[in-house]
């Protein structure tokens, strides 16, 4: 049995305590994220095809060949990667912008009290609460050319119908619509929480000073939501840029060229053509791009925060 004096001997110092408390989380973070990431980077410099996948650690060293293939935009592999990258950029920017705008609109609308507000708030969250599989399949059925609801409604309104939504260039539009439908409730939720943290007397004072709703929105709501927006836009962008589920579920393994997102392209390169080294190199390039974008974004937004 330890005496009180001995017990004191084991008490960590004040400076060491935070590190000790963080240590388990750090260890698990390393195990869960860093080790697979390093594994992926190692794979990207290996000639990892079906011949070596079983004992991948011993696959022949390929150096930077996989990276050269991936960024040789004159070759078929690089050209397709560039095409996917540009599609993904357009998809991410459009999806985040529309989701944010819809979220902001709905959050502003629901700031005022009116009958049925609670019901509306719950309804807005339904797309986010639905499992992604269910949500995307609903859209897949609705966008079907011959029996889908979208074409049926368009035909009933005399606006056409018979359009292929899941083929050709329209596939991109379908992808954006489905992704926005899934994502905007999260923006709505985050912005609504942010708006509720704005003290009501600020708006009241502005009203007394004669500021209209639009002026209040521009001069009070948006600036005071800046910390929320800073995180929200970054998170939405990262989720959207890496999104795999929506395209995969919407088009199965037959993703049209117009909707061939980077994550889908990497999946095809790895698992359908059995070139895991090339797929890993593409993943590493994607990681590098997202790190650069994130760092640039954080540097830019924190400078603006300081300027305010």
């Amino acid at each position: 049995m330890t005496t009180p004096a001995e017990r004191r001997k084991w008490t960590p110092s004040r400076r060491a305590l935070p590190y000790l408390l963080l240590a388990p989380a750090l260890a698990f973070e390393l195990l869960v994220h860093l080790v697979p990431m390093l594994g992926g980077l190692w794979m990207s410099v290996l000639e990892l095809t079906q011949f070596h996948v079983r004992n991948w650690i011993r696959a022949p060293f390929a150096g930077l060949d996989n990276y050269r293939f991936a960024i040789d935009f004159n070759g078929a592999v690089g050209a397709e990667l560039l095409h996917s990258f540009l599609i993904t950029c357009a998809f991410a920017v459009l999806t985040v912008a529309i989701s944010w705008a819809l979220g902001m609109f709905a959050a502003t609308l629901l700031q005022r009290s009116f009958p049925g507000r609670a019901v509306l708030r719950a309804l807005f969250l339904v797309p986010y609460a639905l499992p992604v599989y269910t949500a995307v399949l609903i859209w897949k059925f609705m966008l079907d050319r011959s029996d889908g609801m979208v074409n049926t409604v368009l035909a009933d309104l005399g606006l056409g119908g018979g359009t292929f939504w899941l083929l050709g260039d329209n596939a991109f539009l379908s992808l954006v619509i489905t992704a926005v439908w899934r994502l905007w409730p999260f923006a709505f939720l985050a912005l609504m929480a942010g708006m509720q943290s704005i003290p009501s007397d600020v708006h009241e004072s502005a009203t007394v000073d004669g500021a209209g709703p639009w002026q209040q929105f521009r001069s009070i709501t948006v600036p005071m939501l800046r910390p929320v927006n800073q995180v929200l836009v970054l998170v939405l962008f990262l989720w959207t840029f890496n999104d795999f589920n929506v395209a995969y579920l919407l088009f199965d393994k037959s993703v049209p060229g117009a909707a061939n997102l980077l994550s889908i392209h990497i999946y095809s390169s790895s698992f359908l053509t059995w070139n895991f080294g090339l797929g890993s190199a593409m993943s590493a390039l994607l990681l590098l791009f997202l790190l650069v974008v994130t760092a640039g974004y954080l540097a830019f937004t924190s400078r603006r925060m300081k300027d305010v």
Partner: protein, 436 residues
């Protein structure tokens, strides 16, 4: 260390131990093996019912219990690759026979060399055609055939009788019949296809390619997708929706054979080119057996110079044993059971597939007129897709190029030889660019 610290450390140690043991493979039991079965029937439930009854027999005879998991075709290859990479694998697995060479290259499976083949009755006990799709030429097979399949042309008897036409015997007759049975205004079409399925597309590229006199792959395994024969073969298929107009543009969205089968059973299309595995789906969709007939896939008459009358690729499912299995003997006992004449007759009869061993053909189910057609095609009218390690890559690149061509046709673009050649050139570059 005080009691609280000791308790905390013990708790963490227990948790970590529990997590690590949770990751470890289950304790080995030499009388229990795992089997990943491909989805052969109408549903996984039906497969489990059919296989469960037969595997119970196996357990009764050998004392070996089998944990069976039925895996859909869309997930099977990924699961096998994952198992090969991680080493956490089942003992026995089914695979699509066109993947045989690609999977053999991983070295994950037990090779069936001559001494081992003797245990299964020797190579000669199996159909030559099915045996040709078990791995690379000149090497011991890494899988054995299990269920035999081939393509055939299904036709709706009532629609043919109504139009007063007979089942087509050659490609020219087929086109005439398909045009007569097509009425876009009534949404009635001569033929239905799964235009968005890259695997189905690749099968047709291969079959029509052989009719035109090319393999789409040269003797060194390099892609030759842009040869005039290959372009003609792919154009022959996509023209069914384009220039010939006998396939609905909606079929450009059909991602699998069962979607096309639905178009056939609901009367939208009068013909369907499919493997015999589609028969349970036709039954499930309520189409009586006597409502449709089957003839071999018609080929051009005369064939183009160098062309062969190939009406199907050698299709089917194989069975393999993972080389790392600590229960190899028990796993091989299961393969022996599944390939026995008795089980071949029972399983293939229930799945609507064909036995892969000669000694199972005594069963009357395999002598019906429809099964005779599939059997004849498999035995004499089929060829093996190139057994090269990058076969999976061939299917992906060519099949996806054809899917995109169908999408272009469906959305109103003209697709001629130049467009087909351009799409195939792109596919060829992709295949060569990443190791093909």
């Amino acid at each position: 260390m005080d009691k609280r610290s000791l308790a905390a450390v013990s708790l963490i140690a227990t948790l970590i131990t529990a997590m690590l043991t949770g990751c470890a493979p289950p304790a080995e039991n030499s009388h229990r093996i795992t089997y990943w079965a491909s989805n052969q029937g109408k549903s996984s439930e039906q497969d489990l019912r059919i296989l469960g009854a037969e595997l119970a027999k196996f357990t009764e005879r050998t004392g070996i219990e089998v944990d069976v998991e039925v895996i859909g075709w869309s997930d099977l290859l990924n699961r096998i690759l994952g198992a090969a990479t991680s080493g956490v694998a089942p003992d026995v697995v089914n695979l699509g026979n066109t993947w045989a060479a690609s999977l053999q290259a991983t070295g994950a499976f037990v090779p069936f060399d001559d001494p081992l083949m003797d245990r299964f009755g020797g190579r000669d006990r199996f159909l030559d055609s099915s045996m040709s799709s078990t791995g690379m030429p000149g090497r011991a097979p890494s899988s054995l055939p299990l269920y035999g399949l081939s393509y055939g042309l299904f036709y709706d008897k009532a629609r043919f009788a109504e139009a007063g036409i007979d089942p087509p015997r050659d490609w020219q007759e087929f086109l005439v019949a398909a045009k007569r049975l097509t009425d876009p205004a009534r949404d009635r079409w001569g033929l239905t296809i799964a235009g968005a399925s890259y695997t189905e597309n690749a099968h047709f590229a291969f079959m029509f390619g052989r009719q035109q006199g090319t393999h789409l792959i040269d003797e060194r395994g390099n892609a030759t997708f842009t040869s005039p024969e290959a372009v003609a073969a792919v154009q022959q298929y996509v023209d069914l929706m384009g220039a010939e107009g006998v396939v609905s543009p909606d079929d450009a969205e059909e991602g699998n054979a069962s979607g096309a089968a639905s178009n056939f059973t609901n009367g939208r299309a009068a013909m369907l080119i499919a493997q015999n595995s589609v028969i349970p789906t036709l039954q499930e969709n309520g189409m009586p057996d006597e409502a449709y007939g089957v003839v071999p896939l018609p080929v051009p008459d005369p064939l183009p110079p160098g062309g062969r009358a190939v009406r199907s690729h050698v299709a089917g499912s194989n069975v393999a044993v993972f080389a790392d299995s600590p229960r190899r003997e028990q796993a091989l006992a299961l393969v022996e059971f599944l390939t026995s004449a008795e089980e071949q007759a029972i399983l293939n009869d229930q799945y609507g597939t064909l036995p892969v061993v000669e000694d199972a053909y005594g069963h009357p189910a395999f002598h019906t007129p429809k099964n005779q057609v599939f059997r004849e095609v498999l035995a004499t009218g089929s060829e093996t897709v190139p057994m090269i390690p990058n076969e999976a890559h061939f299917e992906t690149t060519v099949g996806a190029a054809m899917r995109d061509l169908f999408a272009e046709i469906a959305t109103g673009r003209q697709v001629g030889a130049a467009e087909v050649r351009e799409a195939l050139s792109d596919a060829e570059q992709k295949m060569r660019g990443s190791g093909g």
